[in-house]
Amino acid sequence: MSEEYKDNKIEAKSADSSSGGYAPPAEHIPAKEAPEQELYHAKSFWTKWVFSQDAKVIGVQYALTATAIGLIGLVLSWGMRLQLGFPETFSFLGPATYYQSVTMHGMIMVIYLLTALFLGGFGNYLIPLMVGARDMVFPYVNMVSYWMFLAAVLVLIASFFVPGGPTGAGWTLYPPQAILPGTPGSEYGIVLMLVSLAMFIIGFTMGGLNYVITVLQARTRGMTLMRMPLTVWGIFTATVLALLAFPALFVAAIMMTLDSMLGTSFFMPDIFTMGEKLKTGGGSPILFQHLFWFFGHPEVYIVALPAFGIVSDLISVHARKNIFGYRMMVWAIVIIGALSFIVWAHHMYVSGMNPYFGFFFATTTLIIAVPTAIKVYNWVLTLWRGNIHLTIPMLFSLGFIVTFVNGGITGLFLGNVIIDIPLSDTYFVVAHFHMVMGIAPLMVVFGAIYHWYPLITGRHLNQTLGKIHFWVTFLGAYAIYFPMHYLGFIGVPRRYFEMYDSPYMTSGVGLNQFITVAALIVGFTQILFLYNIFSSVFKGEKSERNPWKANSLEWHTPDYPPTHGNFGKELPVVYRWPYDFSVPGSDKEYIPQNVPPSQVPTAKVEIT
């Protein structure tokens, strides 16, 4: 904080610098700027737990729905792996079903699981609690947002049951093949997919406006933007990205629906099939790719930024040390978010666009490595000489750092046009994006669930099952994806139903079988984890209040677990950032955000 800030008349914080510069500032509580939030008080079971307007309940609803559809995505991946590893033994998957599995697995995991879980699930539960609000600013809209999401999920599931089945166009849904005969689900499946996406976007926008305005306009007294936990920064920035990136997908979805149902030619070039020219023609398939990836690349960071934020908090709490370079971390999140809008065409190096475009987009892509590397260094420096508790959230956080670095480094390969071209559409790409935006964010999701489960249920998850879950998932992920990098290098193309006896494949047969076995083991471990989640609600070890000794507001509510209205009679006042761990001079090991300086007179804290 600058000297000028301290002298500011409005925020009159006089620091007594005569006694060595560490004296706590005079206690100053800013005036309330707005009256208390008007809350809707549910009376019946239905309005309390089903059509709930309480952000905490909505968050749990989002998380459960996302997990349920994610489970379908997981099962689809098993089918694919069985086919790839043992094509003769398991022949239940035909080529069409294989493509449909690829498509639905990708779309479900990226959008309906990760986006919904991070923003809808963690966002709803944590934002109001962490910024000191009673609820989201528009509880009713927030409720509609969840039901819209559920409807989108149901439409997506419905596409499994229409004639022709779900779309098999690959998760990028590139036209014209997505809507031409020959691609599975080109009649009804693709339309349901596009409708479901549009519904998801409408529902998300309702929720997203809530998250953004709650962070901007509904913080409690003393909660400045630079005192917010990094979790909130990550989710907030990701939501802003989503509000600006989803429109491109929305427009693309509308245009492709029209192409499919009305026979317009937005994306349809002149095409001959069976010796006859199709009626459609004159459109641009590349336009779709630009629209899709203008959404698609920010989408990567919509998933990654909340993970960055959450993992920062987990590392800080479980290493009992303040986060290294908090401001740098915030700016890195914001800069990554901004840059993510000008890198999209690095997904299109082989689409035939102008090579100078490739040069531009490769440059911007590699620039993103700078703020990202800053974040990784800061996580490591936070751990440096920290009092590291190897709790399960910490294990997953460490797993995240390693995995993210791995995935990031292969990203440097693919970001360069000249290296990308031979690697494009091989298993190297599959390995890269699963590492960096599949496994890495999932590590954070798991860590976060072990961390905040006691807050939600008042009980701990089973620790033994948790340790098994971590080690199998972590080592298993490497068993699955490291060999895939190699497969990519020897030239195995992705999205192939069967490799037959092609020369580059014969050496990869054993590897493919190994990957399949590893994937099945990791997959079943997730079932174990789900069992842990459901059984611990009743049988878990009771957790005392604030079991991890964290500083942020969600652990310091009058009721534990927090109840409707979050903070009882009086909203908390915030005096510091959430990272005052092991403060020199203080007799307390940690100082929660709502502890006034007068209660910790000896603490030599920086003014945040």
């Binding site: 707005a34 901007l216 306009q217 245009m255």
Partner: protein, 235 residues
């Protein structure tokens, strides 16, 4: 504890930095709903931008000549062809309704209930006229000229596709606006905004701020029309 006084905040760039660095609110004195509408409109701007950029791409890349808009959208009045006549009237009506909306907001904050409500009705009528004329234009193109979303007799097929899609999307925005204008006019006549009657769905207290928020939406829809007008009819 001191009382919060918005007038004592610093002004200019210093004020911007102060507000960003302060607690509680970034936009001082701005109600939640208003901030929400601004962010939503930003998101909506991206939707319309994507539509219009796609239109530009299609127009730049099509090999078939693009139809001449002033001929396609011309009307023949008393035997004389007048280019863009209907569109000019439509645009005039919509921009005028933006004016009546602004007046409604002003009367709302002055708590002149009846006047506010009547101007809301006038705005809704302007919107309805606009949608009505759009329906007339659509039916002329479809039934008289034989334009279809997938085909048009004047040239590139994408012309019809984009025309129906973009004006249809904008028309939907106007129609939603008209519905809310009528609902809000009824609420104003009933005095909901004076008594703070609770909303039917949200069960939150009503407030005249709501009219300004609806006004933001309405002005946005009008502004977007100016761009659509420029790209479809003038280019």
């Amino acid at each position: 504890m001191s009382q919060f006084d918005i007038s004592k905040l610093p002004q200019g760039p210093k004020g911007f930095v102060h507000d960003l660095g302060s607690d509680q609110r970034v936009f001082k004195g701005v109600p939640w709903g208003k901030a929400m509408m601004w962010i939503f409109l930003l998101s909506d701007t991206f939707i319309f931008s994507c539509f219009l950029i796609s239109l530009m791409t299609a127009r730049a890349s099509t090999v078939v000549p693009w139809p001449n808009a002033s001929e396609v959208f011309g009307l023949t009045v008393f035997g004389t062809p007048v280019p863009l006549l209907l569109i000019a009237i439509m645009t005039f009506v919509l921009i005028t309704s933006s004016g009546t909306m602004a007046i409604a907001v002003k009367f709302g904050y002055e708590k002149r209930r009846k006047l506010c409500a009547w101007f809301l009705v006038a705005t809704a009528l302007g919107g309805l006229t606009f949608v009505g004329m759009q329906a007339f234009e659509w039916s002329k193109l479809i039934f008289h000229d034989g334009v279809r979303p997938w085909y048009n007799p004047f040239g590139a097929h994408q012309f019809g596709s984009f025309f129906f899609m973009v004006t249809g999307f904008h028309g939907t925005h106007v129609s939603i606006g008209v519905i809310f204008l009528l609902i809000f006019a009824r609420k104003t006549f009933r005095g909901d905004f004076d008594t703070g009657r609770k909303g039917y769905f949200t069960s939150m207290k009503s407030n005249y701020e709501a009219i300004e928020i609806l006004g933001l939406y309405w002005h946005f829809v009008d502004l977007v029309w100016v761009f659509i007008f420029a790209f479809f009819y003038l280019w």
